[in-house]
Amino acid sequence: MPASDPSVLRFIGPDEATRCVHVLSVPEREILDEINRKVAAAQSLAEILDFVFRAVAKVSLCDRLSLAFVEEQGRRVVSHITHAAYQPILLRTGYAEDLHGSSLETILRNGTTRIISDLQRYLDLRPASRSTKTLLREGVRSSMTCPLRVDDRVVGLFFRSARQPDAYQLNHACFHLAMAERLSQAVEKAYRIERLDAANRAYFEMLGFVTHELKSPVASMIMDAQLLNDGYLGDLEPKQRDKLLGLIKKGHYLLGLVNEYLDLARLESGQLEPRFRENVNFVSEVVDPAVDIIRPQMDARQMTLTRDWQAPPHAIHSDPQLLRIVMVNLLGNAVKYGRDHGEVRIHLAADDSMLTASVWNEGPGFSAAQRHLLFRKFSRLDKPELRKAKGTGVGLYTCWRIIQAHRGTITAESDEGEWAEFTFRLPLLHGGLSDPE
């Protein structure tokens, strides 16, 4: 059997398929009109395809209707939606196949519609085709495939199949292509949403992985540099120690970045869903551990810490681990952007319904115009005094997300050139303060 046996495999050029539009039956035209209406009404691709499958099956043979996205610049095709009149569907959503060497490649390249009149005989032509074998196991015997095009790009493929051979002729191909043309807009939308979603997911997975993997080695490098600098491994010249101090400082900077990105990646991938607890002791479970973490940096810059509260507001309904991240971030910023030998002040207050916590520091602060940028993702203030203390622009965003999850608010105030203060207010919930004792 020749590789192009037309009784098995046939390609219909786009011109030929378009020319025969007049052969469309009245029910077919009605289906096309209804697709137009649904696309115009911005129905989802899944909804539209559900309609198409049910409607087409009433008009002519259609046991299976599916749609696949073309990915990786036309190198791979991935099944997106399938409707079938039978069970089980073996070639499911997510099934992927490389296009190189497959007859689908011709469809992509030339915009042709492919009709396979006998899948069993087609398998003899292409014995390596995994998808053909799978479809045969589903009982499919003939199929028709055309491209889904948007702005001259093929974004997907549209398949229709029957469980008997020789089901499709030129007129069917014409109708199939006409449907595909109308579906392409909805396909484009669904494709973009899926791409965006996948890219976002992949980005945060990668971010989480990379930062997690970086954390230990960086911490270990800092520690080894510290040992060298402290003379544990032999005496060093002052010049060598200076270099080591530089390494340690950069190491701490990297570690800070890693931790901020790790928080963000966890937040964005849903791993930071709050686990609320009753009677969280805000001072001992949130403030004290955060101070412990920041203390060495504070000492290094000879800053003083003032704890400013009278009756300690100790018990709130919250997730203490998440609030600790907020406190570490705010204290960390106060140290990072504060003045050497300056003061950092933690102020706590509570009334019947809210806890207010603020972190104040002496330092350059920010202007009123810059305030709205503070809590946005990846935003950093472009300010000469602050440029030295590099930041990721994600720490405050993470704080904002966590405080939002607690139904609270976070705000920032500054007297530029003098001080900055970050304040969050949290509802105490469940009738106000309670004593943990």
């Binding site: 930062t211 954390k215 230990s216 911490a219 270990s220 800092i222 520690m223 080894d224 510290q226 040992l227 402290d230 544990y232 491994l233 190491g251 570690l255 800070g256 890693v258 931790n259 790790l262 928080d263 966890r266 791993q271 930071l272 686990r275 001992s284 479970e285 551990p289 412990d292 973490i293 060495p296 203490p320 681990q321 998440l322 600790r324 991240i325 570490v328």
Partner: protein
């Protein structure tokens, strides 16, 4: 105590940290016992009866560190236990440090001066 020296048991699955801490401790007159897993840590604990314990709670095996601390409590341990943490780790631990019976937290990377001052204060 071993040969007149306080014994510090340090459990971490990262050999680089074990080596670094050993350098600090041995240079300052302490003896160090080490383990790279919680299971091994319990074995070494029984053998060495340490005066001070440092454990990384975020080892590869989930909950290994926290379970280790609970086991020590069940065995009637009286020696101070410090855990290792870094800022981001706070998120993944669902257990309350104080409720676990931990005496304190060291940040990774450990500052040699901080480690030594804590040991000096706790091991008089």
């Amino acid at each position: 105590m071993k040969d007149g020296k306080h014994v510090i048991l340090y459990i971490d699955d990262d050999q680089d940290f074990l080596d670094a801490v050993r350098t600090i401790l041995e240079s300052n007159g302490y003896a160090m016992a080490e383990a790279s897993s919680a299971e091994e840590g319990l074995k070494v604990y029984k053998e060495t009866q340490p005066d001070f314990i440092i454990v990384d709670l975020m080892m590869e095996e989930v909950d290994a560190g926290t379970n280790f601390v609970k086991e020590l409590r069940a065995m009637g341990n009286k020696s101070p236990i410090y855990m290792l943490s870094s800022v981001g780790d706070n998120l993944s631990i669902s257990t309350d440090y104080a409720a676990l019976g931990l005496n304190g937290v060291f940040q990774k990377p450990i500052e040699p001066a901080t480690l030594l001052s804590v040991l000096k204060a706790k091991l008089k």
